[in-house]
Amino acid sequence: MKKVLAAILAAAIVLGLCSCAGEAGKENSSGADTIKIGYVNPTTGALAGNGEGCEWAVKQITDYVKEHPITVDGKEKTIDVKVYDSKSDQNTCTEMAQKLIEEDNIDLMIAIQTPNTVIPVAQVAERYGVPCIATQSPVDPLANSLDEFNWTYDFFYTLDEVYESQRALWEKAGYARGSKAKVGLLFANDTDGTSWHDLFTKRLAEDGYTVVDPGQYPSKTTDFTNVANKFKEEKIDLIAGTNIPPDFMNAYNAVIEAGVKIGCITMGKCCLLQSDVEALGDLADGIMTQVWWAPSNPFKSDLTGLDCKKINELYKKDNGRVMPQPTAFAYAGLELAVQAFKEAATTDKKAVYDAIGKLKCQTIVGAVDYSKKQKGLPYSSSVLTGGQWQRDKNGELNLVIIDNSLYPEIPLTGKYQEGNATTNKKS
């Protein structure tokens, strides 16, 4: 009896899924009138924080195009964005990218959310010859992953730019070039960490800082005692690096416990979302990070006509909090996709690829102009400013833009100030 029940149950699950998938399939295939865009998103897993807001951005752009169809191949068309979860796993990224191309017959691929997702997805797009808009992944790691790119354009900053933006923050905190200030490095040996580490060690030495390198560590390390000891021994002045939230949290706690006096701290990746920074507790305010998008940025989408402030209000209304930076890039990536089809006026892959290269438009994260090239990869730089987490009167943490030396057109929203993270106060 039990077995029969189990068999029926299992069959029900499988059949249910089949029918659902069948329906989903029908919906998609209904349209010769829809343009299909593939999107691999880290919805679950370690990068889920980055993948947040993808669904919302997809809905915004899809709804917009539904109301304002674009003329492609002589017909008015809407878009259908097919999103698959990468589970933050690189094998799944490639599998899902292949599925999008072979099964869903997409016309364009969006590769987004950190090099971990972007590199595998862009590689599949290159192999299968599908135009690919890469964004929210620094240019260097992607450019290093293949000798030439015939189908991909990246839209984000280069590592040189991120270094310069962090350097501007150290200068704000009083650690000028040539000061021989001791910089303690915190880099994991993942894709991001490795490429940042190599560039930072080189440029720090050139700029007259002293590098204190405790060595890279595997991501998800929990014991940072030797890093903390090294920092203490060398009496570091400041900490620089990029990490996922758990790594930074563990390293930071170990360093503080060891009694290291820190004059300033700049950290990439883990300090983007308010929730991640709040998890650091009292020591959160004063931490500095680079900012690629803020609601106060002066950009307006050429496609939807919304500006940063308005779009943040919309997000806040639906989700109850400030729009995260990665979500802004998800929105911008989709904007670019639609712009590319508008420009190409066809779904022919080569024509779409050429059209992306010719795009010169404003998105909510800034202007796009793919005229630069690193190795074989054409890219467009996105804006980069320096921010600091500061507490307001109510004790709420806010990311305040304190440096705009790379892009002076972006307004500052505050001034550098020492916070609890500055354990070695100057004033």
């Binding site: 189990a6 979860d85 690189q90 599998e95 099964e103």
Partner: protein, 331 residues
């Protein structure tokens, strides 16, 4: 009622007609690949199925037939992925050489590790294999030559076509089934089954336990490596986490448990189900692992012998049986 069923003879389907059917099926599959009858998408499914059958078959050989439940077969998957990547990207060799290298490296590592691992049994062996795989992941994560955690791209020009990858996967898959089937029907196969059922007793009746284990472990390493090598050629890039991750073992266990541990046909059924489920579940982000887990639990609870195991027991037949005689014939 169940007594009556048990009295019914077991039909072992391994006669000449079965061989002809197998040859026919394989020939049709080859034709479908090479003459490009199947669409690229169908071939994408086929490649995954063939490779998962091979990996499942090897895990089943270790766990289901020889009683060596390894949680560390991903070690050979990672090594194979990196061998192919190093051969093509760093040493500028061809893909074929890369695949041969992946097998060679895995066999050497398996031989060396066997000295260590075979001192342990049961649970201890399982944990030790996993620990070794994790250690290798950490090693590759900090190894400058393979670009640490940045991953290594497989660089070959021109990239092999999907039908070529499909045909090679099919070849490896057929070879793996044939090797397991033939191995089980030899004296060694009997020894292995004896070992699985009771190690001490097997040793007492003269089964050379170490040699048997070594043979199976090395065969498993070699086939897992070559299938993984092809897998990564199809993917294009290998990372320490994607090569040495425990999720590989989870997939293999799923395939073998669902299909039926200790049967040759089990992993074949399991792999087909696994690949289709994976593809189907991609439409439900966030839910896929929960559903996959629920199905595994249901099967373990209610069909502990897996789908093929249960079917064979109920319907009294065996495909690719390890038995060298058929009750049906003798009656």
């Amino acid at each position: 009622m169940s007594d009556k069923r048990l009295q019914r003879p077991v039909r072992v389907l391994d006669s000449l007609p079965m061989l002809i059917v197998c040859i026919a099926v394989v020939s049709v599959l080859y034709a479908v690949c090479l003459l490009r009858i199947a669409s690229n998408n169908a071939m994408r499914y086929m490649i995954q199925i063939f490779l998962y059958i091979t990996m499942g078959q090897m895990w089943n050989l270790l766990s289901g037939f020889a009683g060596m439940t390894s949680l560390g077969q991903q070690l050979y998957i990672g090594l194979a992925g990196y061998s192919v990547a190093i051969a093509t990207a760093k040493l500028h060799l061809t893909l074929g050489v890369g695949l041969v290298m992946s097998v060679a490296v895995s066999v050497v590592v398996a031989l060396v590790l066997s000295l260590l691992l075979f001192r342990m049994e049961g649970m201890y062996f399982s944990i030790a294999t996993w620990v070794v795989a994790e250690a290798f992941e950490k090693l590759f994560l900090s190894w400058k030559y393979v670009e640490q955690g940045s991953g290594l791209t497989i660089r070959v020009v021109p990239y092999p076509k999907i039908e070529e990858i499909c045909a090679v996967s099919l070849t490896v898959c057929v070879m793996s089934i044939a090797v397991v089937y033939l191995l089980l029907r030899t004296r060694t196969g009997l020894g292995l089954t004896a070992m699985r059922d009771n190690l001490t007793a097997a040793s007492a009746v003269g089964v050379n336990v170490f040699n048997h284990k070594l043979l199976v472990y090395v065969i498993a390493a070699a086939f897992t490596a070559v299938s993984a090598g092809i897998f990564f050629v199809n993917k294009g890039i290998v990372y320490p986490e994607s090569g040495f991750g425990i999720s590989w073992t989870v997939s293999m266990i799923f395939i073998v448990t669902i299909g039926g541990s200790g049967t040759v046909s089990g992993p074949i059924t399991g792999a087909v189900i696994y690949v289709f489920l994976q593809e189907l579940l991609a439409h439900y982000p966030g839910w896929s692992n929960i559903i996959l887990g629920a199905i595994t639990i249901l099967v373990i609870f209610f069909l502990p012998k897996g789908i093929m195991g249960t079917l064979q027991e109920k319907l009294r037949f065996e495909i690719f049986s390890a038995k060298r005689f058929s009750f049906a014939k003798h009656k």
